[in-house]
């Protein structure tokens, strides 16, 4: 057999292996990208099903009913005007609708803000004055009992609204369980004329609330 004939099988094997590697690599990359950037299941209202893993988040309306949260839902009242002493509390319910336990983490991020000019002619940002806080409880009743009045809510909201706020530890939610979260935003009473705007631009802050769940082994 000639040397050239001997080489041909090796050429084909090497070529085939290389092509397979490239194809597998391409598939993995594409799959990872799709899985990373797409997380909605539009036909099922905000319930994400991957295997048996399902997270649902709802927010409490003024009549006490719960409405599912999606990327269009505004949890805080857009029309509220914050002044010194103003406090707003919103309630969220996190439910495990699947068969797999998961840990979840709540994060609040500032997605945008507008600067304004105060009575002294100085520019200021509203996020330098607002205070934020978060508390969780296993039942709705416990949740609302932990914030019976405005003073209790004020005591919880002590963090500054920086660009990103996240809970320190991840809560565990077993299948079928629910957990409740209260988010509090307030304007401290002692905020004075340094945040009293005179400009045409109304100072404001845009907040995004993200709840992330990760599967854990049962």
């Amino acid at each position: 057999m000639s040397p050239t004939a001997k080489k041909k099988p090796y050429k084909r094997i090497a070529l085939a292996l290389s092509l397979c590697t490239l194809i597998v690599w391409g598939m993995l990359g594409t799959g990872a990208s799709l899985a990373w950037f797409t997380d909605t299941s539009p036909e099922v209202n905000n319930i994400f099903h991957f295997a048996d893993f399902a997270l649902e988040v709802s927010h409490c309306l003024t009549d006490g009913s719960w409405e599912t949260v999606d990327s269009q839902t505004k949890i805080f009242d857009d029309e509220a005007l914050y002044e010194p002493g103003y406090v707003q509390v919103v309630y969220l319910k996190v439910e495990n609708k699947g068969d797999r336990a998961f840990t979840y983490n709540t994060a609040v991020t500032v997605t945008g803000f507008s600067l304004a000019t105060n009575v002294f002619g100085q520019q200021f940002s509203l996020q330098d004055y607002l205070k934020f806080g978060l508390v969780s409880a296993p039942t709705e009743e416990e949740m609302k009992n932990s914030l019976p009045n405005r003073e209790a809510a004020e005591k919880i909201a002590t963090s500054k609204l920086n660009r990103y706020y996240s809970t320190d530890t991840d809560e565990v939610l077993n299948p079928g369980e629910s957990s409740y979260i209260a988010l509090v935003v307030r304007m401290p009473e002692d905020v004075g004329n340094t945040a009293n705007y005179r400009s045409e631009t109304i100072p404001k802050v845009e907040l995004g609330i993200i709840i992330t769940a990760d599967q854990i082994k049962n």
Binding site: W25, D39, K74, T111, L126, D190, V191, G208, T212, D214
Partner: protein
């Protein structure tokens, strides 16, 4: 292309592999393996985690601005001394003035005012929207100024709530602010002292008013001809009797000299 193909996929004719080619093949293989594992890890993580994101929540603020009107004794508005300052400043000659403070047109919420009379500072009640029977917010507050000498007055509107300032305000509607403390008074000729005027607010009674002005319920009731001291109405004007005013004797009483 043919050269690249030969370089990476063909074993050289003499069976030996050039070191450079070997290193290139190994580096490429390792890079591909690392990328594959990374992609597998990312896809596994993305597969077993998810998140819910809300819409954009807008938090916006209100502001407070007061409309200040200072009228002299002839009800003529007094011009500001300095329009550049964040405070409304006036240089007022001796005389009497009426100051009215109300919510400005661009004000979106409530606040209060600080009135600087010389070195002294007064906090007013809250002024603005959301006036109810139970809160301490008024649509306006009005004061009288009585100066025996030229005095600088500054008025600054302040954004703030009631629990810190207005419930503990140092000046209420109808108060009478004067710079004529004895040490500072310049008296030209004689001057008939004017009564202090107090406007009753909801929840007040004559006992509290008498205590506030250092007088007694009976003196106030007699000075204002109030038949029932326990029955005063919110908004009622009470004249506080001067210290040297004598309480009249009751009708029908007689005085007998001791024998």
């Amino acid at each position: 292309m043919r050269k690249l193909y030969r370089e990476f996929f063909y074993i050289p004719k003499n069976g030996k592999v050039c070191e450079k080619v070997m290193l290139a093949r190994i580096a490429t293989t390792i890079a591909i393996v690392v990328v594959c594992f990374a992609a597998m890890g990312i896809s596994a993580y993305a597969y077993f985690s998810c998140n819910v994101t809300s819409g954009a929540n807008v938090i916006k603020t209100a502001n407070f601005e007061a409309k200040v009107t200072v009228l002299d004794a002839e009800n003529v508005p007094v011009a500001q001394a300095d329009t550049q300052s964040s405070m409304q400043a006036y240089q007022l000659p001796a005389g009497t003035y009426t100051v009215k403070l109300e919510k400005g047109t661009s004000s979106a919420e409530t606040g209060f005012c600080i009135i600087y009379v010389g070195e002294t500072k007064y906090h007013t009640q809250q002024i603005g929207v959301d006036v109810t029977a139970t809160n301490n917010i008024r649509p306006y507050v009005e004061f009288q100024l009585d100066f025996k000498e030229a005095t600088a007055v500054s008025i600054q509107s302040h954004w703030g709530t009631s629990s810190h300032y207005s419930y503990n305000c140092t000046s209420e509607n109808g108060h009478y602010i004067t710079n004529s403390e004895p040490i500072k008074t310049i008296v030209v000729g004689t001057d008939t002292p004017k009564p202090v005027i107090h406007t009753v607010i909801s929840g007040e009674n004559l006992v509290g008013i008498a205590e506030k002005y250092g007088t007694s319920v009976s003196r106030i009731a007699a000075y204002n001809s109030i038949a029932d001291p326990g029955n005063i109405q919110a908004g009622q004007i009470i004249n506080i009797p001067p210290a040297d005013w004598q309480l009249p004797e009751k009708a029908g009483t007689t005085t007998r000299e001791a024998q």
